[in-house]
């Protein structure tokens, strides 16, 4: 028991230093009972030999939560957990996430998802989440960019519901152009700024002489030509 309370103390410290979030306003110490239940939930999905929830486990979790496993909410959950490796949740990450969500049972977790979505979509958090989504897809050690195919999927998941038109056009452009085989973090972040700052499809505020990534300059040019 002591071990878990000491551990939970550590956890609350690490959570304090992360994102600002209303959910943390509650008492920072989870009760040991809650932690037990969280662990218990973990074990239901984890692979016993590796002590990780692997892709299979996640799929099962998703079907139990009644959420498609390519849904953005799973990504948000991963963000909340600060999961490092795509497709896997460690016990620590699991604990971190569920504790923050105050969910120690499956049904509580399910109920927590809409709130989580709201939290993520808050202006102050979204950029962080957006960047996280990119990093989450980097599988190799020194990898800095993601291939076009994956980017298109990611864009759809992350931005599809809020900026449908921009995503559709951009995905189309990325697929037909030849200049770029991969997209890096700077270009990825640029797209988010683009969606937020530039009206679509007029794009009157767009100025290629500013520091927009070149890929967006070409994108805008391509759209203008299409519209002409």
């Amino acid at each position: 028991m002591r071990r878990s309370s000491a551990a939970s103390k550590k956890k609350s410290d690490s959570i304090t230093s992360s994102t600002t979030d209303l959910f943390r306003s509650g008492p920072s110490k989870a009760t040991s009972k809650e932690m037990d239940r969280i662990d218990h939930l973990f074990n239901q999905y984890a692979n016993t030999s590796s002590n990780l929830i692997d892709p299979e486990g996640i799929e099962e979790l998703c079907s139990n939560l009644e959420v498609p496993h390519t849904d953005i909410r799973i990504l948000m959950l991963a963000w909340k957990m600060k999961a490092e490796k795509q497709g896997y949740f460690t016990q620590e990450e699991w604990r971190r996430g569920l504790k923050a969500l105050r969910a120690d049972t499956l049904s509580k977790l399910k109920k927590a998802l809409p709130e989580l979505e709201k939290e993520v979509r808050r202006q102050s958090n979204f950029a962080d989440f957006y960047a996280y989504a990119f990093r989450y897809c980097l599988t190799e050690e020194k990898q800095k960019s993601i291939d076009i195919e994956t980017i298109c999927q990611l864009l759809d998941i992350v931005m599809g519901s809020t900026f449908r038109a921009q995503v559709d056009y951009f995905v189309e452009y990325l697929k037909i152009q030849n200049d770029y085989k991969v997209i890096n973090m700077d270009q990825w972040m640029g797209f988010d700024r683009f969606c937020n700052e530039i009206s679509f499809p007029e794009m009157t505020e767009y100025n290629p002489e500013l520091a927009w990534p070149l890929v967006l300059d070409s994108f805008v040019e391509w759209i203008s030509e299409k519209q002409a």
Binding site: K144, D186, E209, A211, P213, L214
Partner: protein, 778 residues
């Protein structure tokens, strides 16, 4: 002043008052110094005011009478009478209270001048009109001045002691004020009208009395009483208005009727006349205003129209070499603010047009397949430049605007494309043929230097200077390696030195390296020859060792299978070289070599001057009768394209050293080649040329330059960011473009791409707050 002993110190000079306002025209006016008589005239008795006034009035009447008669004598008043008056006034002033009449005398003075002005001066003027009015005014003004001068003599004591004590306005001032109020204000309008009418007459060419005008204008000036206001407001203002409308009328008729040169001559005349007018009678302060108006009306408002006149405007003058007219144009517009700009602009437009015409000529010729025009083009552009530089230095007095206009014009057309190549390449080609010619002494040394100077000047107008350097280097390499007996070292070095001076050492360092290399290579060769005991492979070998980084990049061809004899040569040199140098790597470039081969043809042996590749191919036939193209490729390890060129030169061109089956003009891998033992020529030695692939060369140059530019941009960006630490995107791009402009005009997209690349390599990052600002990552 001491009354006691009875002496009176008479005034010697009216210094203070005399200088005042020009009222008294001559300062040197000493009353007669009759000290003794004054003593006699000094009375003990008190002078009554009325008594004194009577005496005074008598004197004044006398004065007036004399003035009316207009005697020319200076000393108008009888000295005795003068002295009596002076003394009377003096006495009346020093008398004891209640008989000191100073104040009353002062008032009396005022009354006198008022009366004179109002009753005498004014009426006589008002009776006249036109020029007579002016004459009368002038005359009366003269009288008034004399009148007042004499009165001042009389009232001198009052002036010196009463006025200064009581802080009253001095006598002259009082007099002037009276004149102004009683006379001037009444007649000034009419006078002004007449003056203006007279000036108008003069402008139209008639003679007028300038002296009269001068005097009359003096009245206006003086009436300002210390300021120039009266002159300005009552006369000058109207004059300027009249001037404006006068010249406006003239301008509109002249501009229609006259050609540009004629118009300019008329304007010049008008300005001259107006300035003369000022010298002769107008106040000097009017000059600048008059000139400004005339310039404005005659030159500024019609400038565009004038310069663009169809057959006589700026363009036509330049075309017809009208130096005087152009010089006049410059001198007329130079003093006008913003006046020269349109002239410079017209100049620029004209030069651009001429240049573009030359370019078009060459382009059209190239489109029809003739490239002669393109070669002559640079020479023509140089001539054009010299021609118009003469104008800039001469007519346009070396003015910065015109230098700039010339520069801008040339920058426009010097960068245009002609038949696939453009500015930098054409210029490099021009230099190449220039230096090839120099060996033949077709040009004198001075002419050569002059042409080199012209080339350097033209280079200044070309925006992609780095491309020129690259092409120049390639051509220089060829000249040094293949035509070294034709090369004139002085000329080549002169060009490089001048380039260095203009563009900096880094620009020419490689070229200099190439020239030095040739020098060093000779040394090596001497040493090599000296070290040999016998000829390796029985061949006279000469090797030129080049420093790789100085020279353009060449394909290394070390895997070429050389014939036995040549292998021995290579090995001999390699061992020699290793023995005298340390830590150096030799790469052989066979594609640049030359070989002299004796062809033992049946008719007679002929010496063939060939490239190494050609020689190597031919040597195969020493051992085999017939070979296919494919076999040759395999045996020699030569690339297909290189071999094709070689085979064409040996079998399908001017000299058929090899027989080809089938006898077509192109090479297929299955073609069979055979030594043509029947070949002969009248000469005993022939050069079998093999043309270098020029298309490829151009592409390679562009490729190399692009790569160098990327490095240059990267270095520039890093340099800027390192010193500025934080900088907005647009400023970074602008500074980068500016710094690089000496070498080339960078593409904005390229700069942006390099910035992104540098970000990915963690040299830069975006600012967290403002995404359009970059920060240097240390």
């Amino acid at each position: 002043m001491d009354h006691g002993d009875g002496s009176v110190v008479l005034l010697e000079r009216h210094s203070v008052q005399a200088a005042r306002e020009g009222l008294i025209t001559d300062a040197k006016d000493s009353p007669p110094s009759l000290l003794l008589s004054s003593q006699k005239m000094y009375r003990e008795t008190i002078i009554d005011f009325e008594q004194g006034c009577k005496c005074l009035e008598a004197g004044v009447s006398e004065l007036k009478r004399i003035l009316e008669e207009e005697t020319t004598s200076e000393t108008l008043i009888d000295p005795k009478q003068y002295l009596e008056l002076y003394t009377t006034i003096y006495n009346m002033c020093i008398q004891k209270h209640p008989h000191d009449y100073s104040q009353r005398l002062y008032n009396k003075y005022r009354d006198i001048v008022e009366h004179y002005a109002k009753k005498t001066v004014l009426p006589s003027i008002q009776q006249k009109h036109d020029e007579y009015l002016l004459r009368e005014l002038s005359r009366r003004w003269g009288h008034y001045k004399v009148f007042v001068k004499w009165l001042s003599h009389f009232f001198n004591y009052l002036e010196r002691f009463f006025i200064s004590q009581r802080n009253q306005p001095p006598l002259l001032e009082v007099a002037m004020k009276s004149f102004r109020d009683r006379v001037y204000l009444e007649v000034q309008v009419s006078a002004k009208d007449v003056v203006i009418a007279l000036i108008h007459k003069e402008r139209e060419g008639e003679q007028i009395d300038r002296e009269l005008l001068k005097n009359v204008l003096d009245v206006f000036v003086q009436s300002g009483m210390g300021t120039i206001e009266r002159y300005k407001e009552d006369l000058e203002m109207f004059l300027l208005e009249e001037t404006e409308s006068y010249y406006a009328r003239k301008a509109s008729s002249w501009i229609q009727e006259c050609s540009c040169p004629e118009y300019m001559i008329k304007s010049e005349e008008s300005l001259k006349k107006e300035k003369e007018r000022v010298t002769h009678y107008l106040h000097s302060s009017t000059e600048s205003k008059l000139v400004e108006i005339v310039q404005d009306i005659l030159l500024v408002s019609v400038e565009k129209h004038l310069l663009e006149k169809e057959h006589s405007g700026c363009s036509a003058l330049l075309r017809d070499d009208k130096i005087d007219d152009l010089s006049r144009m410059y001198m007329l517009y130079h003093p006008i603010p913003k006046g020269l700009e349109p002239v410079a602009d017209a100049f620029r437009v004209h030069v651009t047009r001429e240049g573009n015409a030359l370019i078009k000529q060459a382009q059209d010729a190239a489109a029809n397949g003739s490239f002669v025009e393109a070669q002559l083009l640079v020479g023509k552009i140089i001539d054009l430049h010299e021609k118009y530089m003469v104008y800039v230095m001469g007519c346009f007095k070396n003015h910065a605007f015109f230098h700039k206009a010339l520069k801008e014009a040339f920058e426009v057309f010097c960068n245009k494309k002609v038949g696939g190549s453009y500015g930098p390449e054409l210029l490099a080609n021009f230099c190449d043929s220039l230096f090839k010619k120099s060996g033949n002494d077709k040009l004198s040394d001075e002419a050569m230097e002059a042409t080199i100077d012209n080339v350097i000047k033209l280079l200044d107008y070309i925006s992609d200077k780095d491309i020129f350097a690259e092409f120049y280097r390639k051509k220089l390499a060829r000249r040094l390696l293949f035509d070294h007996h034709k090369v004139n070292k002085e000329h080549e070095t002169s060009m490089i030195t001048k380039l260095k001076r203009q563009q900096g050492g880094q620009y020419t360092s490689k070229m200099e390296g190439m020239v030095t290399d040739m020098q060093l290579a000779k040394e090596f060769q001497k040493g090599f020859k000296g070290s040999l005991t016998k000829k390796p492979g029985g061949i006279d070998l000469a090797v030129t060792v080049l420093t790789t980084i100085h020279w353009p990049s060449y394909k290394k061809s070390t895997d070429l299978n050389l014939p036995r004899e040549m292998v021995q040569c290579v090995e001999a040199f390699n061992s020699y070289y290793q023995s005298i140098t340390t830590a150096r790597k030799l790469s052989w470039i066979y594609s640049l070599g030359t070989c002299h081969v004796i062809g033992s043809f049946d008719p007679k042996p002929i010496e063939l001057v060939l490239s190494t590749y050609q020689a190597v191919v031919l040597c195969l036939f020493n051992d085999t009768e017939r070979l296919t193209c494919q076999e040759i490729i395999e045996q020699l390890n030569l690339s297909h394209e290189d071999l094709v060129r070689v085979l064409i030169s040996l079998s399908c061109a001017k000299y058929r050293i090899l027989n080809k089956e089938p006898a077509s003009k192109s090479i297929a891998t299955t073609d069979v080649f055979e030594f043509n033992s029947k070949f002969t020529d009248t000469m005993r030695r022939i050069k079998v040329s093999i043309p270098p692939p020029s298309m490829e060369e151009r592409e390679k140059v562009v490729e190399d330059v692009d790569r160098d530019r990327r490095y240059a941009i990267d270095a520039c960006i890093v340099r800027i960011m390192k010193s500025r630490k934080v900088l907005p995107h647009q400023q970074l791009v602008a500074q980068c473009a500016e710094q690089l402009s000496r070498m080339f005009k960078p593409d904005i997209k390229m700069i942006k791409k390099r910035i992104e690349d540098l970000m990915a390599r963690d040299y830069l990052e975006r600012d967290a707050e403002d995404h359009h600002i970059f920060k240097y990552v240390a």
